[in-house]
């Protein structure tokens, strides 16, 4: 990436490698465009013992532009996570702030998982997945209505 903000990403990468938050570890971060982060279900949550993978893609506008964040592999079964890995979480789209970091985004997703009490897919999962196909979740118009989980 030729971003002028590459230094910020390099700092974040170093920080994630040397001082990762609990249940989060970076598995692929060799280039600055795309990272893969392993997320473990927290102890005591319904996802305990499960392992997930988050993919972050950064545009040259990061951090003014939000990263594209999706689950790859098998996504957790959660009312706000679609089976194609897209995550309905406002800070990834309309409520993005350049003060957020990869680490804080991971923690938000982890807390979204930890607060969940029932493993169910979003009610419109199949409709959504067939509609968006391979589009980036950043191109989708999201409606945020449920802040209980």
């Amino acid at each position: 990436m030729t971003s002028r903000y590459a230094k910020r990403l390099q700092k974040e990468l170093l920080d994630l490698k040397t001082n990762p938050p609990p249940c989060i570890s970076i598995t692929e971060g060799d280039n600055l465009d795309k990272w893969v982060i392993a997320v473990d279900g927290t102890e005591g949550s319904i996802y305990q013992g499960e392992h997930f993978k988050l993919q972050f893609k950064f545009s040259s506008g990061y951090p003014l532009d939000s990263p594209e964040v999706i689950f790859i592999g098998t996504p957790p079964i959660h009312p706000h996570i679609y089976s194609n890995g897209h995550i309905c979480l406002s800070i990834l789209y309309d409520n993005w702030s350049p003060a957020l970091t990869v680490s804080s985004v991971c923690l938000s997703i982890l807390s979204m998982l930890s607060g969940c009490t029932e493993k169910i897919r979003p009610t419109d999962d199949s409709k959504y997945v067939s509609r968006v196909l391979n589009k980036s979740p950043k191109e989708v118009r999201w409606m945020f209505h449920d802040d209980t989980v």
Partner: protein, 87 residues
């Protein structure tokens, strides 16, 4: 008048911005350095404060505000207004 120089003084001075945080929350570069678009730290790349007392490099917060309809502080999401009196 005859002047005898007894010793030669070296003068050294240092400056820093009077900011509580060490680095800008947007570019994560030091305030005493400069934003990613500038080369020379100092008056040309100053920190600015919002009324919420959060500080950013002037260039960084302007880029953020120009790119967004919502004029919010990146740190606390309160409506961004520049603090008028210089700290």
């Amino acid at each position: 008048m005859k002047v005898t120089i007894k010793s030669i003084w070296n003068t050294v001075s240092a400056w820093h911005w009077d900011v509580n945080e060490e680095c800008c929350g947007i570019c994560r570069m030091a305030f005493d350095g400069c934003c990613v678009d500038c080369k020379i730290p100092g008056d040309d790349c100053p920190p600015v404060w919002g009324v919420c007392n959060h500080a950013f490099h002037m260039h960084c917060i302007l880029k953020w505000l120009n790119a967004n309809e919502l004029q919010q502080c990146p740190m606390c999401r309160s409506e961004w207004r520049f603090k008028s009196d210089e700290k």
